[in-house]
């Protein structure tokens, strides 16, 4: 979704304001006017000024070119298939975090890649072969070669 300049400017201004306001919660160095609060103060101001500048740009654009919708809905957002693809992609990422400690890296990686390959239209056979091979190669590179303690599961035996 693409916001217009006024909406985006407002959002950035509010974020800047929040950062600016939060700076009061942080202290300074003893006997100094500077400390943990300095950066939030400056960054908050940067956000507010940027948001304001973008908002003004949006207002000027509105006057010269005409009204621009607050938010432009891109084509993919109107296609349930594409929205579902993105939801599935993120869902699989989160699912990996949850299930990998239980079923192990090999199986979890395979189960994350397989539906995504199928979603793109890869044949079952190719999807299974490529997903399995990738999972094994990643396990060998990270798990064996670099000694990263990837989650182990029922398939973790021998050199895997």
């Amino acid at each position: 979704m693409k916001l217009n300049d006024i909406a985006l400017g407002l959002l950035v201004f509010l974020a800047g304001l929040a950062v600016f306001a939060s700076s009061w919660g942080y202290s300074t160095l003893p006997n100094q006017s500077y400390g943990a609060n300095t950066m939030p103060l400056a960054v908050g101001m940067l956000g507010m000024v940027t948001g304001l500048a973008l908002g003004v740009q949006g207002v000027v654009q509105r006057r010269t070119i005409g009204p621009v919708p607050w938010a432009q809905v891109q084509r993919w957002l109107r296609s349930p298939r594409h929205v579902l693809s993105l939801v599935l992609l993120m869902g699989l990422g989160v699912a990996y975090i949850l299930v990998a400690p239980v079923i192990g890296f090999l199986l979890a990686a395979f189960l994350v890649m397989l539906p995504l390959m199928r979603l793109g239209g890869t044949t079952w056979l190719n999807a299974i072969i490529v997903s399995a091979l990738t999972a094994v190669i990643l396990q060998l590179i990270f798990g064996r070669l670099l000694m990263v303690p990837l989650p182990r599961g029922p398939l973790s035996f021998g050199w895997l």
Partner: protein
Amino acid sequence: MQVLMDAFGHVFQWHVLLVIVLAAAFGMLVGAIPGLTATMATSLLVPLTFFMDPVPAVATIVTATAMAIFAGDIPGALLRIPGTPSSAAYVDDSYILSRQGRANDALGASLFFSVLGGTIGTIVLVVSAPQLAEIALNFTSFEYFWLVMLGLFCATFVSPGTPTRGLIALFLGLGFAMVGQTNPTGEPRYTFGSIELMAGIQFIPAMIGLFAMSEVMRFYAHPFQNQKPAGVKGPILRQQFGVLRRYPVQALRGSAVGTAIGILPGAGADIAAWISYAVSKRFSRKPKEFGKGSIEGLVEAGSANNASVSASWVPALVFGIPGDSITAIAIGVLYIKGINPGPTIFLTQPDIIYAVFIVFFLALLLMLPLGWITIRAAGLLLAIPPRVLMPIILMCCVTGAYAINNSAAGILIMLCFGVLGFIMAENDIPVAPVILGLVLGPMLEENFVNSMIKANGNFGAFFERPISAALGVFTIAVLLMPIIRLIMRKQRIKSES
């Protein structure tokens, strides 16, 4: 001399050489595949470098980047899809040449002049970095403050999109840099009670999310299918000496402009290519041929983007301020390895620096044969369907983000930054300033607070030392540039009407 021998000793070990060859092949592969950028190649490699010694770690990044920037020209010439943004400036020329059956001429020129530009950029790096480091040894927090500001604003104002959108990215980057306990008083800031966030936002998962995960998301939102290109026929390199004899000025000017832009903190290969292409057109005797199959533009811009890759390491190594998003990543890696880039590194670890220089030359030497093979195998490479590639990249992102701290928090950060990168791209907000803000934010804070304490709160002290004053004036000029340009444009419109 002993330092140089040590440097050769660091590089000429079988495992370092193997790492260089593998990184080169990986860089070629990623650069040649449309949709995968040089920055993505670097970010996917960083988790691996985490487990290496400093020299092979930096060698991996240097080699992969140089290769990816060249290889980006291959899908540009054969499919009119630039493999990396730095190939976009002359994509029309190389594509038209390919359609005329001269793909070998176009890609040969890209390869030959990439090596030439890269060599000139590297020579400038080798010669100027130690000299600059000697000057930089006298720098105090005042000079560093302005250098960081200059890097941040250059990156913001020269990135694609409007300056205000660049500033939004900078705001986000600096905002994320504030998270954690690394601040003057050491109190937890924006951690929301999370222990994971105490040390700040993990840089590598954030970067993998911004550059690689967002690309995977973009594919599922806007899927595309690679077309099958024809293979490249005819000699590739033989005729390039003739091209060099015809366009020596262009090759040198492209390399010089690329080097100068690379040295500027915050500007990288993409900008170097665009500016060089425009300069070439401006001084050409045949400007009308540009965009219609001009070898001249290709020579100049092709030299420029690779020259800037080497030159962008000058500010990175000398001041610790990245020249572009790739060196920002490299600096992050150096810090993780316990090497603090800056002028003192030339005194404390000169062997490491010279080893990096040797790696640059080795990478360029490798580029010729590997580039030749990649051009010949382009038909096969470009046929790899993205629908198979993207799930593999997702898994590489997940494993890489986990491997940094062996914690699922890294994966979560990577996913969040992936969504952020995706939303930013949808709203035409550049991503590079976020990563520069994240890397330079702590440095900015430290140098500003230290300077203000030293100066007793007098901001005028930032203009009291000559170099600091010059850097300050230059930074303010860069900051005011968009406003000056806007006023000039308005006056032009007024006078025309």
